[in-house]
């Protein structure tokens, strides 16, 4: 049985990446390299107001003084920042009036990915902002949302049309000095999504951004800003894919969320960047800064992520629990295969009184991969009655992979209760035996156990996404669950 199991586990790691195709779309790029002129050029190309250029330049100057962080449990090959194209956009004629104006090849690409750009035909009720090579190509359902006062558009559009909002909130959660990759992003970000939910509005549909890297040698730097005013609610989805290429591509994004009084923001990610081939060649370097600020009382921010892609993942979606009674949540499934490396987790900073946070992290490592959870729970002195519970489990499928847990707990007052627990194990022979005994084949049993293991997190995903996430998990279990 041991051998049988090994064979099946082997098959688990053979899941093919389905989104590795390249679309032949004419794109407009600037030359490789990074300097002040490039930053100015990006700003100029986007026809940005003065304050944006200033912001970019400040960030760029600060970035030059910084060093790449080394603390993560990752082996990151040296990245040559001069060898990257910082701006690449699918060639657009002028402004798109209707869907018919969208490049048919581009539409075909998103159709292939199963993204409902074509709103008439898809009644799935998801508004999508599709971002290809860092430029937003099409936002659906915009008009319907506008009736409610919801602004959902590309970041560049927001800069043009709502500069006050952008100026007020951009950098308020992730300042341009935050970290190496946040500074880099602040200097060169090309586009992204902007979402504003006005007071007392409950967004009637899921908002979604779909990121796609297409052009070669480019880096993708997008920025998402979500502002939820008092008493509002929004659920936001993010998905991503990239073509299969031999060289590594850099993705350094920023997501900022502001939740005001009684607001709730739910942010779900299915991250499926190209993870590289079986020998660890190629793949996306994913260095992302995601942070939410529960600014008002009783606000809530919830992060749910399913991480299956990227050669290297460096990502810590965090919550600053500033308002009293605010709640932060983090649910994560991270799967690493072959030579993938992931160092991911969260930060929960309790500042307001009676704040609560919950962390559920499930890591699954296979092949030669390394999967780390790194998290911080900090309770400051005035955050009385803070409550945190963290659970971080790791599942090892194979004897050449690694699973690591690095929790940090810092508590400064006596009324708070903070709990952390973690386990690491493999699928028990007794569990398999139990299933076998009941007529369930070993490969089905492994699928069953892994799905059960991740269920707690998958359940937190919105319906539309849960299906995709489950499919993704199944890809990696192909051959064992049939």
């Amino acid at each position: 049985m041991e051998k049988d199991q090994d064979k099946i586990l082997n098959e688990v790691t053979q899941g093919e990446y389905k989104y590795g195709f390249v679309s032949d779309i004419e794109s407009e790029s600037i030359p490789k390299g990074l300097n002040e002129d490039v930053v100015r050029l990006i700003s100029q190309k986007k026809n940005e107001p003065e304050f944006m250029l200033e912001f970019r330049l400040k960030a760029f100057r600060h970035w030059q003084t910084m060093k790449m962080p080394q603390w993560a449990h990752l082996i990151v090959p040296k990245i040559n920042y001069q060898d990257i194209i910082y701006y690449s956009a699918p060639k657009q004629k002028v402004l798109l009036d209707s869907l018919d104006d969208v490049d048919p090849e581009l539409r075909a690409t998103f159709d292939k990915l199963g993204i409902p750009l074509d709103e008439q035909k898809h009644l799935s009720g998801v508004a999508v902002d599709a971002v290809m090579d860092s430029v937003s190509v099409k936002t659906t359902f915009k008009e319907n949302l506008a009736e409610l006062g919801i602004i959902f558009c590309s970041f560049s559009e927001a800069v043009q049309e709502h500069p006050d909002l952008v100026k007020k909130y951009m950098g308020s959660v992730v300042p341009y000095t935050d970290n190496y990759f946040a500074s880099l992003n602040s200097a060169v970000f090309s586009d992204g999504s902007f979402c504003f939910i006005p007071k007392s509005v409950r967004c009637p549909m899921e908002l979604s951004t779909y990121f796609r890297i297409n052009a070669a040698n480019t880096g993708q730097f997008e920025r998402t800003l979500i502002v939820a005013e008092d008493d509002s609610y929004v659920s936001y989805l993010e998905g991503c894919t990239a073509p299969r290429r031999d060289e590594n591509q850099l993705h350094a994004a920023i997501v900022e969320i502001v939740a005001n009084r009684n607001a709730e923001v739910k942010y779900s990610t299915v991250q499926n960047w190209y993870p590289g081939d079986k020998n660890g060649k190629g793949g996306i370097y994913n260095f992302v800064t995601k942070r939410g600020k529960c600014a008002g009382e009783n606000s809530k921010i919830s992060w749910t992520q399913v991480e299956t892609g990227s050669a290297i993942t460096w990502k810590y979606p965090s919550c600053i629990l500033l308002g009293n009674n605010s709640i932060g949540e983090f649910y994560s499934v991270a799967v690493t295969n072959n030579h993938q490396q992931a160092d991911t987790g969260t930060k929960m900073i309790h500042i307001g009184k009676n704040t609560k946070s919950i962390i559920v992290s499930k890591g699954i490592s296979a092949g030669f991969s390394n999967n780390s959870y790194r998290g911080l729970v900090k309770v400051v002195k005035n955050a009385t009655n803070a409550r945190n519970f963290s659970q971080c489990d790791s599942l090892l499928l194979g004897d050449k992979c690694g699973a690591h847990t690095y929790p940090y707990i810092e508590v400064d007052n006596k009324d708070s209760i903070v709990e952390h627990e973690a386990t690491t194990s493999k699928i028990g022979e007794d569990q398999i035996f139990y299933c076998n005994q009941r007529g369930i084949k070993t490969e089905d049993a492994i699928g069953l156990i892994v799905n059960g293991y991740a269920k707690e997190v998958l359940n937190k995903l919105p319906m539309e996404f849960a299906v995709e996430a489950q499919k993704l998990l199944q890809i990696s279990l192909e051959g064992s669950v049939g």
């Binding site: 603390w71 690694g402 952390h420």
Partner: protein, 455 residues
């Protein structure tokens, strides 16, 4: 006995002291020790004293402590009093072989080495290095990692005296050996002692270590103990830290365990201004078992930082870590435990727990239990909690007529008892139970073990 006192400040100072006193240091020490000394000095020049940027010292700033003008002795200071007159161990009915270290020097200068029945040897490290070069050379500086740890390099560069224990093959020492580290001086002093415990195959021994301060000045201690536990040997290490609040202590324990060996290490921290305990365990053979426990009860401005590194290098080993602490007033605490399971260390069982109770809003605790696992067939878990006494339990007791204060003490005592009951020496266990009880009541404001009433 010459006296050489030198004022010290920080890394540069140590480098100067070393260069100025190289002859004194190298005098009397065998060549192989001086080779290690020189190597350690070169390493120290590069690493220096760890600062907060060092991930392992994130919560304890040692540089600050070294800025004080402590004096350092390169040979034993003349002792003008009979220590036995003022110090007696007050653990009742404890039947131990007592060894004294005064300010890091072996106290009984007339009788530096004692041979115990069965060929076991106990005595001064300095003397042993001279008398048993083959034995010491084989183990000295082999387990303590001075390449990564600047404090170990510093200790090795200035190595002079400490305790040496050797237990030959299949010898069992029934009586626990009690090592008492006394700090006593009229001026502020920096001491560094170096212990080496060698337990050969199939042997067994038990060591009780007590840390005391007998006079009021501030002290800084940086000690290193290397402990080799041979195949199928058993070693029991209990330690009680009870120094006054002006003392700062950094201690390093390096356990090297061979196949099927068993080690229990138990550290009870009752008092101490700044205490940093580093425990490194290498399970270097199959079937090893290691239990590392710690209890810390801090108040006022005390700071306690426990660091444990458990290295599972071979399959089928078991390790347990349990650290519990109660923090009162504006005390600060940290726990940093790491379990590393290497690639082929299958069937490893490793458990790690850190529980803390904060009694005031000014106390704070930082804990980071870590797992780093490279083998798949393992059972590893860790947990950390920070909280208060259980309200339900409190209610239960109060509903039965127990006053709030007593109920609180009872619960704290129960909380601490998990660690105390793991102490293997019964007499010591009783005594520590008693001390912890007193400590929790706030009655142990001075070291009970001495008549100096210094703190």
């Amino acid at each position: 006995m010459s006296l050489e006192a030198v004022k010290i400040e920080s890394k540069q100072k140590f480098i100067e002291i070393y260069q100025d006193n190289i002859d004194t240091l190298k005098n009397d020490a065998p060549e192989y020790i001086n080779i290690a000394r020189q190597k350690a000095f070169e390493l120290f020049k590069n690493i220096g004293i760890p600062d907060k940027k060092n991930e392992n010292y994130k919560y304890t700033d040692l540089n600050k402590e070294f800025d004080n003008g402590y004096k350092m002795y390169l040979s034993p200071k003349n002792i003008k009093f009979q220590i036995n007159d003022i110090f007696r161990c007050d653990v009742p009915e404890i039947n131990t072989k007592v060894i004294l270290l005064l300010n890091g020097w072996y106290y009984d200068r007339e009788n530096l080495i004692t041979e115990l029945p069965g060929g076991a040897i106990i005595g001064s490290f300095q003397k042993a290095a001279e008398l048993y070069p083959d034995l010491v050379k084989k183990h000295f500086a082999q387990y303590a990692d001075m390449e990564k740890e600047g404090m170990v390099a510093l200790n090795t560069a200035f190595v002079k005296d400490g305790i040496f224990l050797y237990v030959p093959k299949d010898v069992l020492i029934e009586k626990p050996i009690q090592i008492i580290n006394l700090l006593m001086d009229e001026e502020e002093g920096f001491t560094q002692h170096r212990n080496l415990f060698i337990l050969e195959e199939g042997s067994q021994a038990s060591v009780v270590v007590c840390d005391h301060t007998l006079s009021t000045p501030n002290f800084l201690t940086n000690s290193v103990s290397e402990i080799f536990v041979g195949q199928n040997a058993g070693f029991d290490y209990s330690r009680m830290q009870n120094e006054h609040n002006g003392s700062k202590q950094v201690s390093h324990l390096y356990f090297h365990q061979e196949r099927d060996s068993r080690v229990n290490a138990n550290t009870i921290t009752l008092h101490g201004g700044l205490v940093r305990n580093n425990v490194h365990v290498l399970l270097n053979g199959e079937g090893c078992e290691n239990n590392t426990y710690g209890l810390y009860l801090t108040d006022k401005g005390q700071h306690i930082d426990n660091y444990v590194f458990m290295d599972h290098a071979f399959p089928n080993c078991i390790s347990n870590q349990l650290f519990k602490g109660v923090l009162d007033d504006f005390a600060t605490g940290a726990f940093n435990g790491k379990v590393l399971v290497r690639k082929d260390a299958q069937k490893t069982k490793a458990f790690q727990a850190n529980n803390n109770i904060l009694l005031t809003d000014d106390a704070d605790i930082n804990t980071k239990p870590q797992l780093e696992i490279y083998a798949d067939d393992v059972k590893c878990s860790h947990g950390a909690t920070v909280g208060q006494l259980d309200e339900d339990a409190m209610f239960y007791l109060r509903a039965r007529g127990i006053p709030k204060k007593e109920a609180k003490l009872l619960l704290m005592y129960a909380f601490a008892n998990d660690v105390i009951k793991a102490i293997q020496v019964p007499a010591l266990q009783d005594r520590i139970q008693d001390l912890v009880d007193k400590r929790l009541r706030g009655e142990l404001s001075r070291c009970n073990s001495c008549q100096m009433h210094c703190c």
